[in-house]
């Protein structure tokens, strides 16, 4: 009993002597922190606002700038690394296969190493560091996040490695040697415009977008809003983030169907999610209300378009991955190239879209000029 009391007594002493010091420090830290929170903000570093139309003229201008390929010129054989931010959707998987296929057509490439960061920016940074340890000459990548990848890219640039960004976001930075870019603004405005016209300029719609915060989502929403400025009688009732996930898109749509007793149209450029939206309307028996925006070349969407004969698609620019390889190798060989190779997208009528449907393939599939051996397994 006394022992317990002693322990208690001494621990209390310890606590009383230790506590004020810790407390004082903590309070000091809190004070500085509070002051920090309310400090006036200065303009931050140069940031391209991809939600503004003007940015895309800027991108076109940048794309034409020449690259100083002389400083990158090397003799073959070359080692190429692909640091994929993620390999978890079919489009990106096809893109990766396009890279593999294109590399196989170039005998001057000795080896291709592929890493997958699984949407983890810290892992992508580690992957790039590891690829650099393997002495690659060319680094192809699509970032988990354009800003979070910068310190790792800087390391690559410092080592004289050519870096090429693939995909839907344009990176203008000394550490990014070149871009292989799909102009998503065009793609999204086209889809938005077609939807608005199909609606006859009026009605209530909602938007089904990819992962919140991704450049795809930001651009698609901005493009939609830009187009809607010319259609004041169209109400954008809700913006949902389906994460390119058909199941999630369906669930979100089910909720919206419960909230609103009439929905006239849906803006959903990603065919994969459009399927989920369609199913939700179908199961609720409200298919007759629905007009959808054009989707893309997703096989499941093509199947749907074939069935309904409506809505069409906009190409998604899968070839951009092949162009990236060609562009990067050209830089290594010292050929004169510009900053970016841009892959244009275009609208496809419902008939064209329906023709893309490949019956023997899963829904989660894309039309590609890949020989059988190179298709995803």
């Amino acid at each position: 009993m006394t022992e317990a009391k002693n322990i208690q007594a001494t621990s209390k002493e310890e606590e009383t002597t230790v506590k004020p010091n810790l407390r004082a420090i903590f309070v000091a830290i809190l004070t500085v922190a509070f002051l920090a929170l309310f400090s006036p903000g200065l303009a931050s570093a140069e940031d391209l606002d991809i939600s503004r139309k003007e940015s895309y003229d800027q991108i076109q201008a940048w794309a034409k700038e020449p690259v100083d390929t002389a400083k990158f010129k090397k003799d073959p054989p070359y080692r190429v690394g692909l640091a994929a931010g993620y390999l978890s959707n079919s489009w990106i998987l096809f893109a990766a296969q396009y890279v593999r296929y294109e590399v196989s057509l170039h005998p001057e490439v000795k080896e291709l190493l592929v890493t997958d960061a699984g949407f983890n920016p810290a892992k992508q940074a580690a992957d790039i560091e590891d690829l650099l340890s393997k002495n690659i000459d060319l680094l192809l990548f699509w970032p988990v996040d354009e800003k979070a990848i910068m310190p790792a890219l800087q390391k690559a640039a410092d080592k004289g490695v050519v870096t090429v960004n693939i995909g839907y976001n344009f990176m203008h930075h000394p550490a990014v040697t070149a871009n292989a870019y799909v102009n998503q603004w065009e793609q999204s405005t086209e889809a938005a415009r077609r939807l608005a016209e199909s609606l006859g300029g009026k009605g209530r719609i909602f938007a089904m977008l990819p992962i919140a915060g991704s450049s795809a989502a930001v651009v698609q929403l901005a493009a939609l809003k830009d187009v809607l400025k010319q259609y004041p009688n169209i109400e954008l009732a809700s913006v949902e983030y389906g994460d390119w996930n058909r199941a999630k898109a369906k669930q979100l749509t089910e909720n919206l169907l419960q909230r609103f007793d009439r929905i006239d149209g849906v803006f959903s450029p990603a065919g994969q999610m459009s399927m989920g939206v369609f199913e939700a309307f179908d199961e609720a028996g409200r298919l007759d209300e629905l007009i959808m925006s054009p989707g893309d070349e997703y096989n499941g969407w093509a199947k749907l378009v074939k069935r309904t004969g409506a809505w069409g698609g906009v190409t998604s620019g899968l070839e951009v991955a092949r162009e990236a390889v060609k562009h990067g190798l050209a830089i290594l060989k010292g050929e004169p190239v510009s900053n970016a190779v841009i892959v244009q997208t275009r609208y496809m009528t419902p008939e064209e879209t329906a023709k893309l449907y490949q019956a023997g393939r899963p829904d989660d599939w894309w039309p590609a000029e890949l020989p059988e051996a190179w298709l995803p397994k």
Partner: protein, 313 residues
């Protein structure tokens, strides 16, 4: 036979033997591993998890758990990056903010635990959702930029020694000292071993649990800042998944999930093993899709080899 193999591992602290083995394997079979640049890389890559796992060691040793730290890391990374916007002048205030936010939220966890008396797993899982919501209300995309000092600390070195290594060693020694040589540390492990007995012995169990969560939050704040330094910016999902890695590291390292024993060196060894394993997989060009399976097998093997015959939790 199995018992003999086990004896080798459990004898000298299984995890350290496992670490020695994996280092030998890596050095022998992976040529790029030995390169000093790569060693520095591995140390930098593992520093974030190491800091987080140190905090989680305290919590687990107290018989609790903290699932919210990954998201707390993300929140801190976002806040400090947004504040700094690349300016060195705000580096110190940002640092203070990171510590303040981390520790405060950790303490909130502790207070809620003591008042509401919910199971720590459920409480911190709920907190994880809450923090996710807060983070994404603040921003849905990467925001802000860290100052050059943060970048240097996270990835730079001095005389060949990475700054991050120094940070980890300092934190680890402090933690180890606190756990093994102070009354607080003994009381913490006593609470973890048997809370009821500890309470009867006069230990302020509620206070201990509160401080344990405070430490967990503090380490999440520090880890979040280190992560922001690695990425250069505040990415709202940056810390996602780190909490489970930290828990695995702590348990593999020898701290019992049921609470009681705590070992900081064990935790560090486990963190290193995980980092070296990832590094090896990349350098050995193991295909991207096979890496997860291999990692899983390594974890299971480590579990089977290093876990004592403790009662299941």
């Amino acid at each position: 036979m199995r018992e003999r193999i086990r004896a080798i591992f459990l004898g000298g602290g299984g995890i350290h033997t496992a670490l020695a083995i994996i280092i030998v394997l890596a050095t022998a079979f992976v040529p790029e591993f030995r390169h000093p640049d790569n060693i520095v890389n591995v140390l930098n890559q593992s520093a974030t998890l190491a800091v987080l796992a140190i905090g989680q060691t305290f919590v687990i040793a107290a018989g609790l758990i903290d699932l919210s730290v990954g998201q707390l890391m993300s929140l801190v990374a976002v806040l400090i990056s947004d504040l700094m916007a690349g300016r060195s002048a705000l580096a110190l205030p940002a640092f203070c903010l990171g510590i303040a936010v981390g520790t405060s939220i950790g303490l909130v966890n502790g207070v809620l635990l003591n008042i509401l008396r919910i199971h720590p797993l459920i409480l911190t899982f709920g907190m994880l959702s809450v923090l996710q919501g807060i983070t994404f209300l603040y921003t849905d995309r990467s925001i802000g930029q860290v100052s050059p000092e943060f970048l240097r600390v996270a990835s730079g070195s001095f005389a060949g020694i990475p700054f991050s290594l120094v940070i980890v060693i300092v934190l680890a020694s402090t933690a180890h000292g606190a756990l093994q040589r102070t009354r607080f540390g003994w009381h913490l492990q006593a609470v973890g071993a048997n809370e009821e007995n500890a309470r009867r012995a006069g230990i302020n169990t509620r206070g201990i649990k509160l401080v344990a969560y405070g430490i967990s939050g503090l380490s999440a704040g520090l880890a979040g800042m280190l992560l922001a330094g690695r990425l250069g910016t505040g990415y709202p999902n940056a810390g996602s998944g780190f909490e489970l890695d930290a828990i695995v590291a702590v348990v593999l390292g020898g701290t019992s999930l049921a609470g009681g024993r705590a070992t900081i060196p064990g935790t560090l060894a486990a963190v290193l093993i995980l980092a070296i394993a990832s590094n090896m997989l990349n350098l050995l060009e193991v295909p991207a899709f096979g890496q997860m399976v291999v990692k899983g097998f390594i974890v299971i093997a480590a579990i089977l080899l290093t876990q004592r015959r403790a009662a299941a939790v």
